[in-house]
Amino acid sequence: MKVAAVAIVALAILIAIIPIFSDCESQGRTLTLENGRQVSMKCHWTARAELALGVPLLAVGGLLAFSRRKETRRNLGIMGAVLGAVVILMPTALIGVCVNPDMPCVGIMKPALILLGVLMVAINLAVVVRSLGQEDEAA
């Protein structure tokens, strides 16, 4: 379970950090309105949302490392899997990324988040399955 907890913490950090450096705004690209004002593209808001998702996922990993009761592990696993699914949904359905396939958010940020989200869901589901057949650890 310790290995899973470490993996969740590592993935949570990557989920929070990668979008900050791979959204279009980080590469100096913004939308310029007719009045000359520059506004962020939607991939920037996806990056912000992923940063917000990284924090509870980090907490899930941390708590899992110290949890001894199998019910706690199971619940943490379910929560991690749901949050992992939201990590995938942010760039694909909920907010999205830029339309132009040449943009860095399409080439790097979106695939990275889908991959990390899939891994997060898989590890958390494994935690849930494992916790079903486990005994509570002694304090």
Partner: protein
């Protein structure tokens, strides 16, 4: 059945060691499948691009060879012009059985008149064409009419619109070509008549005029007779017609082929090193494991288990870990390669085509088999050693 249960219990008993073997197997299988997918994908992509070209020789104005390759491979538009009289001059040469002119254009980058970012546009002559027409005949009942186009696999009509806008001209996207992983996937094909119509109306509808110099073409596609030698015909074109370069299509993309070859050499070297290290690590881990389990094995033998059963229990434990690790490595690597296709193309500067599901399944099976055999080889020595040990000695130690 008991042996399998024993192997599972042994694997679960020391999770650190099991994770080590799992990660080694994942690394071995993941590395093999990634390397195969990237190299085969690049190679397939080049081959498909050459097949799509369908000509034996492409005649272009002198000095545009590299830019044409970039256009065909990476979709970076090229603009080159030569007098259209060259079409007749090439057709008149011995060994040439068909010629067809093409005009290369591009959409405006980021202009409001165009619904797509900078795209490579290829205008062909339907009367003489022998490269696009075979595909069109298979997929569309009639050829392309005025204002109609077919696009590469990446070309789509933007949401909320029913036509593609090019220089303010509305094009009807009739179909998409099969993906090749090259610049052809982001190209638009239409007739010369449509190209001239776009150019004529661009003065009125576009922020910038589409300029097609009169009585010019960008390239001439040449088909050589069965009895003629392509290289000799190319040499003849070079000698007879000044100011042009004949590109033999089977020699196109030389730089990319060399790049794939050097990549293959580096990958094989890395693969060998990784495999040796992973196998050594697995061998050490299993040597430690069987040493710790000498008593257990001794008791098993004393209770009547045969040498083969002991050997089986160690090998099954290794296979279970290798199978799960290998499947995880293949799954993660395949997902990563499929998601990062565009980044791979951009970083490596070679085209890339993801294989169809059946071939992917075959490659995955091969990678898994290689990981299983690697792990078996690494585990064989400690497994045989423990199975040959005398039970009384094992229990006493």
């Amino acid at each position: 059945m008991h042996v399998i249960r024993l192997a599972i219990r042994n694997a679960a008993g020391n999770s650190f060691r099991s994770w080590m073997v799992f990660f080694c197997a994942a690394l071995m299988a993941g590395f093999v499948i990634s390397a195969t997918l990237v190299i085969r994908g690049a190679d397939d992509s080049l081959r498909l691009a050459l097949e799509r070209l369908g000509a034996d020789i492409i005649v272009i104005p002198e000095g545009h060879e590299r830019r044409l390759e970039s256009a065909l491979l990476m979709g970076i538009p090229v603009h080159c012009w030569m007098p259209d009289i060259i079409v007749d001059e090439v057709a008149a040469l011995p060994g040439v059985v068909a010629v067809s002119p093409q005009i290369y254009l591009s959409t405006l980058r980021g202009a409001i008149c165009c619904s797509l970012p900078e795209l490579f546009l290829i205008a062909y002559d339907p009367a003489t064409d022998f490269t696009i027409r075979p595909w069109l005949e298979l997929n569309l009942d009639a050829g392309l009419a005025l204002g109609e186009t077919v696009g590469g696999s990446f070309v789509y009509v933007p949401a909320g619109e029913d036509k593609l806008l090019v220089y303010g001209y509305e094009l009807d996207l009739k179909a998409n070509l099969e993906p090749t992983g090259t610049g052809l996937d982001q190209s638009l094909f239409f007739t010369l008549e449509t190209a001239y119509d776009i150019a004529r109306l661009s003065d009125e509808y576009a922020v910038k005029v589409m300029d097609i110099p009169p009585r010019t073409v960008s390239s001439v596609l040449v088909k050589v007779g069965r009895d003629a030698d392509v290289h000799q015909v190319a040499q003849l074109i070079e000698a007879e017609i000044p100011g042009v370069t004949p590109l033999e299509t089977n020699k196109l993309f030389k730089d990319q082929r060399e790049q794939i070859l050097s990549l293959l050499h580096s990958v094989v070297a890395l693969l060998v090193i990784t495999w040796l290290l992973a196998m050594a690590l697995i061998a050490v881990v299993f040597s430690l494991a069987v040493n710790e389990r000498r008593r257990q094995m001794g008791v098993m033998r004393a209770l009547g288990a045969r040498r083969g059963t002991v050997l089986q229990s160690v090998l099954i434990e290794a296979w279970l870990l290798a199978l799960s690790g290998g499947l995880a490595g293949i799954g993660v690597s395949t997902l990563a390669i499929s998601l990062f296709q565009r980044a791979i193309i951009a970083v490596m500067n070679v085209p890339f085509l993801f294989p169809p599901p059946l071939r992917l399944a075959g490659l995955s099976f091969g990678a898994l088999a290689m990981a299983l055999s690697g792990v078996t080889l690494a585990v064989l020595v400690p497994a045989v050693r423990i199975s040959l040990q005398d039970p009384a000695m094992s229990m006493r130690e």
